[in-house]
């Protein structure tokens, strides 16, 4: 467990700090995320995603749950599907393993414009407004391209050709 904390602590901390501030609150959410991780670790299905993806999923869900608790109208913010729903109920024959290799393969097939936005948002950690300032693109265009890019990536990951070629 200490090895797991050492390997993924930075990932969980970084994801949660994107959503939760101040740091004292982020620390509480990190503790909640690891508590959930220990409780649900035996349900991890490596055919669906890598360990890092599942841990990232828990970190995001906990962060969004925190945002909902802080919101005056939490009912308006959809909570991501529960961990158990993701690892069991929503598995389909088309579902691909979301690991680094398959993600990289799908990303490489997106347009260069979409790839750049994904890179700025996920690797660079920039908000939509920061991306707009950096690229000069309208905010609406950035949102639309990221959404379309995610839909395209899902289709690419479901494509047997993509999975065979890349994994």
């Amino acid at each position: 467990m200490n090895d797991c904390i050492a390997q993924f602590g930075g990932l969980v901390w970084s994801i949660i700090r994107r959503y939760v501030q101040p740091d004292s609150e982020a620390e509480d959410v990190v503790q909640e995320a690891f508590a959930e991780l220990w409780q649900k670790a035996d349900r991890f299905d490596q055919s669906r995603a890598s360990a890092a993806t599942f841990i990232g999923l828990i970190a995001r869900r906990r962060s969004i749950d925190w945002l909902r608790r802080k919101s005056r109208r939490p009912e308006l913010q959809p909570l991501p599907p529960d961990f158990d729903e993701l690892v069991s109920a929503e598995t389909t024959p088309d579902s691909a393993c979301v690991d680094a290799e398959n993600l990289q393969g799908a990303l490489s097939q997106l347009s260069s414009d979409a790839r750049e936005l994904f890179n700025l948002h996920f690797t660079g950690g920039l908000t939509h407004a920061e991306i707009a300032a950096k690229t000069g693109l309208p905010l609406g265009t950035i949102k639309t391209r990221l959404r379309r890019g995610l839909i395209d990536m899902r289709a690419l990951l479901r494509s047997p050709k993509t999975q065979t070629a890349e994994s």
Partner: protein, 247 residues
Amino acid sequence: MKPTELKQRFDELDAARALGDLSPEEQAEWFQLVETQGFSPDGEFDLLVAGLEAAGGEVATAPPAGLIKKLQAEAEHFMPRPAVAEVIPFWRHPALGWAAAAGLAVALTVMTPRTETEPSAADLRGALLARNDVLQWDFSGTPEFAQLNGDVVWQDESQTGFMRFSGLPANDPQQCQYQLWIVDPQRDSAPVDGGVFNIPARDGEVLVPIRAALGVSSPVAFVITVEKPGGVVVSQQEIVAAIAQRG
């Protein structure tokens, strides 16, 4: 709008949901499509976003040293303990799946039957009650669980406690499980997950140890709910079985 167009629109909104950039108007539209068209959120979007964030996490910032120490200390609460005959083993081993998947070298304590030298759950509860800084509250069953008798014993400093039940109906772990929630407003407005547990189909008293997922400092109530197998992160409290609270 045609059904295929509605589905395309929902996909766009659901991708935005996973990306976390739905506007209030789009949130309302998302809920409307869920309710009127029967669409449901696609977890693959969430896995994709989590995977992309994890991939971006190669440049992750190291957490504060103090936080790492807290995480390590709390992880010890989830390590397997020797099985005790009187206790329902509700805490499944947490590290095995991750260890196998991530190739991590995690030292596991083997669950072993209780030996003569190990204290029973009843002994441990008795020792806890001997302290003068322990709370002991009776459980009250809700109307559907009116035949329930029991109490909770909890000690803040050691973060240990036990629940004692009789008359709590046996559950089928494949259908549902009981889950404990500890209400501690000084910590958070949301209750702390106290873990899931089962009640076996036999007469007599059942002792269940408490291992709070997070630190609890000033509990004001202990609530038992009925949840799906494995428990939930946030309970909707649709079925509340019992409550023990400060008198």
